[in-house]
């Protein structure tokens, strides 16, 4: 066997390529957020580092690296250092099951196959694995708050944990309609099912499920209007109050990487992934660059959701904590259950 036919090597290459894309994406997502914030508030946003602030993410990174490093006195050192690592590891693991491209024809053979998809692993239970990993990210937040031994951190962490597990319930129930229609946990096949039957968003259970899903997603990623974890006006910044320099940057990067991943996930589950709409599909079918056009559509659809995160953040005020819990348990959860009822009846009659 030739050396380049090793499966480990090829999955490492995929991981490296995706990592490079996503970490760059996360960097420029922060720029987009700050630019967006600027324009929403009628100011320019960062515009000093390069034209349109294009080197701002780089400048931020260097700044983080060159910051003085302090270990606060009263912390549990190991847990304190472990917490940002857990956050970033779960963020990295989260995109392992996302298929970023369809199967693309290669001019040469790799491992006896001439087609390859940019997806690190494709287990039959993709979406289950994804939710399992995403629920692990609670540990990063909780350990950070606990080990800091700071009142603001602990309050933020406890609030955030309760919020994340409450909304995780609605999140996992809201995709049952999609799973029923696709008949698979496999993300690749969920997209293929939408290729045949149209976007799940346009069907009755998918439509309802989408709204529960997107609200729960905002709460899961700790974004406004649900950013009770880091309510600046009352808790400083919540669970990462004691973190500085690159330890903070890891939380920051993990948050933005998570947002990119869930944007792609939303498109996969409800908006048909790399499906090409309308007549365009017939135009590109059979061409070798057809899948690449699909990927372009995929990225644009995902970018809309990335923008939605920013849009909502600078348009809505924050909820109060009791309102947050009421929304999660008394409105979203029944809505998710109704969506299951409807999905059952819809598929039965269809």
């Amino acid at each position: 066997m030739e050396w380049y036919q090793s499966e480990i090597l090829w999955s490492l290459i995929k991981i490296l390529v995706l990592f490079f894309l996503i970490i760059t994406g996360a960097g420029y997502y922060t720029l987009m957020e700050r630019k967006g914030a600027g324009y929403f508030q009628l100011r320019y946003g960062p515009n000093r580092a390069g034209i349109w602030g294009i080197f701002q993410p780089l400048a931020d990174g260097i700044k983080f690296l060159l910051k003085q490093e302090t270990l606060p006195k009263h912390v549990d050192v190991y847990l304190f250092l472990l917490a940002p690592a857990i956050s970033v590891i779960t963020a990295v693991l989260l995109w392992s099951t996302i298929p970023f491209t369809p199967l693309i024809d290669l001019p040469f053979e790799v491992l006896g196959k001439s087609q390859v998809a940019l997806q690190v692993l494709n287990p039959g239970s993709g979406i289950l694995l994804l939710f399992a990993i995403s629920s692990l990210s609670v540990y990063g937040v909780m350990l950070a708050g606990w080990s800091s031994n700071n009142k603001y951190s602990l309050l933020g962490a406890v609030r955030s944990t309760a919020q994340m597990i409450s909304y995780e319930l609605s999140l996992s129930l809201s995709i049952i309609g999609v799973i029923m229609m696709a008949g698979h946990f496999d993300l690749y096949r969920i997209i293929e099912a939408q290729n045949e039957n149209g976007w799940f968003f346009l069907s009755v259970p998918g439509f309802l499920g989408f709204f529960v899903f997107i609200v729960a997603l905002f709460a899961e990623t700790n974004r406004l209007p649900f950013d009770l974890a880091e309510a600046e006006s009352e808790l400083v910044v919540g669970f990462h109050t004691e973190y500085g320099a690159f330890k903070f940057a890891l939380f920051f990067v993990a948050e933005y990487m998570n947002m990119i991943t869930v944007s792609f996930l939303t498109v996969i589950l409800f908006f048909g992934g790399w499906n090409i709409p309308f007549f365009l599909r017939d135009m590109v079918s059979g061409m070798w660059w057809g899948p690449l056009v699909g990927v372009l559509f995929f990225v644009f659809k995902a970018m809309f959701f990335m923008f939605l995160f920013i849009w909502v953040r600078w348009s809505l005020p924050r909820f109060r904590y009791d309102q947050l819990m009421n929304i999660g348990w008394k409105y979203l959860l029944p809505m998710a259950l109704i969506q299951i009822f409807m999905a059952g009846i819809y598929l039965y009659l269809k």
């Binding site: 499966e7 983080f64 003085q68 039965y348």
Partner: protein, 128 residues
């Protein structure tokens, strides 16, 4: 198509390596010449001196939410295999039976849900 799950180990090691590398790099590169002020590593409490320990008591409601989460999450897990095989049941013509089964399950779930609501387990203090 790769169907096994082993690449996730590589992915995990990659994430771990990235976190370890970046924390070590930040540790090596950080400026060392000037010593921080003595008060610098104190626990942050908005400028006033740190008092007591942070790990006190907090609202019992958080524990209740955690317990309810486990209960309902298990129900959600039961729904998954049903959802994924619904179309297969429909193909062999027993969709109606499976649907009624799940409605019975969901109605029992809803009974429990209304019980918690009535008990006030999900009522948070309204500051108004």
């Amino acid at each position: 198509m790769i169907t096994e799950i082993w690449p996730i180990i590589i992915q995990f090691l990659f994430g771990l390596g990235f976190a370890a590398l970046i924390l070590t790099a930040a540790h090596i590169i950080r400026p060392k010449r000037r010593k921080p002020a003595d008060s610098h590593p104190e626990t942050f409490e908005c400028g006033i001196p740190f008092s007591g320990d942070a790990r006190g008591m907090f609202n019992i409601q958080f524990y209740i939410v955690a317990m309810l989460f486990i209960l309902f999450d298990i129900e959600a897990v039961f729904l998954y295999p049903w959802a994924v095989s619904f179309l297969k049941f429909k193909a062999i013509g027993s969709a109606g039976f499976v649907l009624v089964e799940m409605f019975v399950f969901l109605i029992i779930l809803l009974l429990g849900y209304f019980y918690i609501i009535r008990k006030g387990a999900l009522d948070w203090e309204d500051p108004e």
